[in-house]
Symmetry: none
Subunit: 144 residues, 4 copies
């Protein structure tokens, strides 16, 4: 099951609202459960360098079914996943990418946000994901 464009638009709209509240300019990417781009939205004056980061955060989240920042905790020097960023044409492993899981625990895609501090990026991604009813992330979400 892949995220629909209607769902993607809803998530982007919620993320955009949160970004405005935080007075930030964000890039917001939605990918489906195959990590393929579904929708993308770049607010005016957002960093151009955030385009690729937003997409890669979303892809990273769906690649491993977990928040992008969770991987970053494990990929530090000396950590068990040091260097994992070299896989999959480049991962981004700091916060701002979140899987989108439906009510049945099925991962239908992910949202990635970049353009401000990682705290703000995460907050905006969370607002987007929650607009689709995501609550608790199961330990190992599956795809169908």
């Amino acid at each position: 099951m892949h995220v629909t464009i209607e769902q993607a638009e809803k998530a982007i709209e919620a993320a955009r609202k949160r970004a405005l509240e935080l007075n930030t300019q964000m890039c917001i990417a939605i990918v489906d459960s195959g990590a393929n781009l579904k929708a993308f939205y770049r607010m005016d004056d957002a960093w151009v360098g955030s385009i690729d980061i937003a997409v890669k955060k979303a892809r990273t989240a769906v690649f491993f079914g977990m928040p992008s920042g969770q991987i970053g905790k494990l990929s530090q020097p000396g950590g068990p996943l040091f260097g994992i960023e070299h896989s999959n044409d480049g991962l981004i492993t700091f916060p701002g990418g979140l899987p989108i899981v439906d009510a049945d625990g099925v991962m239908i895609g992910a949202i990635g946000v970049s353009g401000s501090s990682v705290e703000n990026d995460h907050a905006v991604a969370k607002a987007g994901g929650e607009a689709l009813g995501v609550c608790d992330l199961p330990e190992h979400p599956w795809r169908t």
Copy 2:
């Protein structure tokens, strides 16, 4: 001057309407005058392979300030630009990519559409671009 997100959304909406009239499922990409992604919209059931093609058509159009298909006429075997597709991380040189030029003749970005025949792709791109007031493309549009 770059396309704004408001303009990008307007172009996508007009393109989407045309795509529905033609009973097609399209990927629609908007890039700014730096060829960087501004907005992207993938209709449900659009081909996954069209994601990259839509983006590359838009980039191709803005790279050279002309419709993507115009380059394709010059890049055939024996033609003056044979093999140009190898540049810029890959061009797509068949129709479906159009520069977006404002009333002052300034190229503010481009639209790229993929998902059906090249005739339909072009028609949908045209509908999107015209929603922003594009009329006649000057011979060499400039960027500011």
Copy 3:
């Protein structure tokens, strides 16, 4: 819906049998509906260069929901899709890639075969796909 590993193995086994009947050494790739690799099998003495071709044929088939060779007919010099091979990190547009569509008309993945003539590659891919009950390919198969 993605192809399961049980289905992938079944398709590979049927393809392998056909390859042996034809006295060929093939690379056989199965991708899911997101174009991500599910299973791969390289017969002994198959060309090393066929590894990437088999994978790209499968990806090409799922990218556009049609046999890879159908795209190749349109991408010849002077054709409407000339140069499409430059998209999606490289397409292979000659025969040997086929979408795998289930009884509900849902595209669950694709099979790609390389290692002999395109006629043989196609025959082996067909044997693999048919093992999963694929019969008539709908005009525009969808993904769920």
Copy 4:
């Protein structure tokens, strides 16, 4: 001497059994002594991001004739091989990749596993490799 497809299948089957015992969903890749993909198997619900990591772990192991994790010990900041991951289209240098060495000490290929903790990835790779009779890895295995 390259790993045969019969050996590759045997290694995958042993790895799969170990993965099931550990209640994990793994991607399992076998490459030959030229670092070219021989066979690949993705269990249902394995992370999509693990496809590339499993392949890269196997390639890393065969590139240098040592376990992938052994390289990771040398590629930490301040270490002698810092940044080696940038070579060869991307290495993965944490555990889960093991050379496959035959009874004569000849490296015939490698196995790479990804999908769980690095401890589990390593255990599954070890089970796969040992199914082919690998025992002690010589200091510098050779290829023929």
